[in-house]
Amino acid sequence: MKKISKKTLSKVWFRWMCGNLSSMSFQWLASFGFSDSMVPAIKELYGDNKDEQIAALQRHAAFYNTEPQLGCIINGVVCGLEEERANGADIDDEVINGIKIGLMGPLAGIGDAMVPGMLVPLLLSIAIGLSNGGNVLGPIFYIITYMASVTIGTYYLFFKGYQLGTKSIDLIVGEAAQRIREAFNLLGAIVVGGVGASYVAVNTALQISTGNEEAPVIINNVLNGIFPKLLSLVVVLFCWWLMSKKKVSALKVMGILVVIAIVGVSIGFF
């Protein structure tokens, strides 16, 4: 019975965490990050068999991309599978690759929504509050809480994945897992709403002069009277609509915003 030692597993985790995107390109993204991170495990499991080593390396050099931090759990799962395989279980390349491909997509989506979408803005919003007047507490708070939670969290997830091994397939693709993903999406949507309301800031300089010179109608106040931060909301929904309905890329959307900024200032809207 072969078993990957805890020390080797820790090495795999660390190697992945550091090198996941080290040689990233649009064509390969985290592919070599993944195969390289498997090196310690591969050497331990197939130490006596160079051919098996090469086969394993190649197996893990297929296209791969996910959110590297949350995605840590896949690396754990794959270590578990490799171990079973090395012990003779009937797990061929197809299966392992299938699992990697099946999991990397959902975890990229959820991961991006959870890490840069929720955890980062949440901690930053607190840190910004603490930074008031240039206080160093803010950055220190962020560095400590972010680093600690992600380091501990990914380490935990990696080992959880390893323990689950093949069981993970049900658990991550099954019905309950889908509900969990949906639940996280729901949470993500709510928090993103809060981020939008907190940090998008669109205001108009428009005024309608009434008879009374002193008291023109300030359109910005009117709009906020209808609903607070209405213009900011409109801009977010506009960007969303462009991207999800008109399939405009994020970069082009930024271009459009540049145009809007320029035109808006020209016509006195901003």
Binding site: C18, G19, L21, S22, S23, S25, F26, Q27, G33, S35, D36, A61, Q69, A108, A113, P116, P121, L122, L124, S125, S131, G133, G134, V136, G138, V150, T154, K160, L171, G174, E175, A176, R179, I180, E182, N185, L186, I190, V191, V192, G193, G194, G196, A197, S198, V200, V202, F227, P228, K229, L233, V235, C239, W240, M243, V253, M254, L257, A261, S266
Partner: protein, 274 residues
């Protein structure tokens, strides 16, 4: 305030350490997601330049613009790293020479837009090392893999980050005052950049929104979060707690007709497992 040769190099190195693909600070965990956040870079640049307070003040202002930046599949709508290092440093310089924080933000925004070139260029050059790595793997050549994954791409990446940063900051610092003079706060370009800065976070927000909604009607959840914060002034943690409550509800109440107990059991398992 003057930036010395050594200081400019140091900032360049920080910039490199914070770039998306740099592995040395636990990968993107300590790099991209920590020291490339303008709030943190402002702090670090402040340490280097000897004015932490101004550094953080400028950092906070720039951070807000990039609060919701996300890079799905390595696509970068704005190069946060150059905004955080070249942009924030220039911003600090400008503020020290009498510019407003708003104008500092504008400059950082502009730098962020231009900086995407460096990122995309790296993504392009890395394909060469990738090809070499593929060959190495085929032969079971661990050294080759190491070289083409850890060493060569990083050397190139270090150049892409350190050199422009040094050049712009060390050589460009004399122009910082000129920029302020050229574009007064109420100049057309400054006003446009300020307006842009207010709208930019919307892009990140919209990218995320697209990612977390399956059906159009799901944006009601986004609206809920928006309304709670915009109208009630709720802070983010409170919102996250409310959101977590609703998320848990969702998990519980969508349990399907699948034999109740079994489904519950599965959920419980998962809860305990994960």
């Amino acid at each position: 305030m003057e930036i010395g040769v050594f200081q400019a190099i140091l900032i360049g190195v920080l910039s490199y350490l914070g770039s998306l693909s740099c592995p040395w600070l636990l990968g993107l965990t300590g790099g991209w997601y920590t020291i490339s956040r303008p709030l943190i870079s402002g702090f670090l640049i402040g340490l280097v330049l000897g004015d932490v307070t101004t550094g953080i003040i400028v950092g906070v202002a720039v951070q807000v613009v990039f609060i919701a930046l996300v890079t799905p599949g390595g696509q970068m709508p704005q190069d946060l790293n150059s905004a955080a290092y070249i942009g924030v440093t220039l911003g600090i310089l400008m503020v020290k020479r009498g510019g407003t924080v708003e104008s500092a933000v504008s400059v950082a925004t502009a730098v962020g837009a231009i900086g995407t070139i460096f990122h995309n260029f790296m993504m392009f050059t890395n394909t060469f090392w990738n090809a070499a790595a593929t060959q190495a793997i085929k032969k079971g050549n661990y050294k080759g893999l190491f070289l083409n994954h850890w060493v060569l791409p990083q050397i190139v990446q270090a150049c892409y980050r350190i050199i422009p940063t040094f050049v712009v900051l060390y050589l460009g610092q004399s122009y910082a005052g000129d920029i302020i003079a050229m574009f007064p706060v109420d100049s057309f370009i400054m006003r446009a950049l300020t307006a842009l800065g207010g709208m930019l976070p919307a892009v990140g927000v919209a990218i995320l929104l697209k990612q977390v909604t399956k059906k159009d009607i799901d944006i009601i959840r986004f609206l809920l979060g928006f309304a709670l914060v915009a109208a009630l002034g709720m802070n983010m943690i409170t919102l996250a707690i409310i959101g977590a409550y609703f998320a848990y509800n969702h998990f519980v109440y969508t349990a399907q007709s699948i034999p109740a107990v079994a489904a519950g059991g599965m959920g419980d398992d998962l809860e305990e497992e994960l």
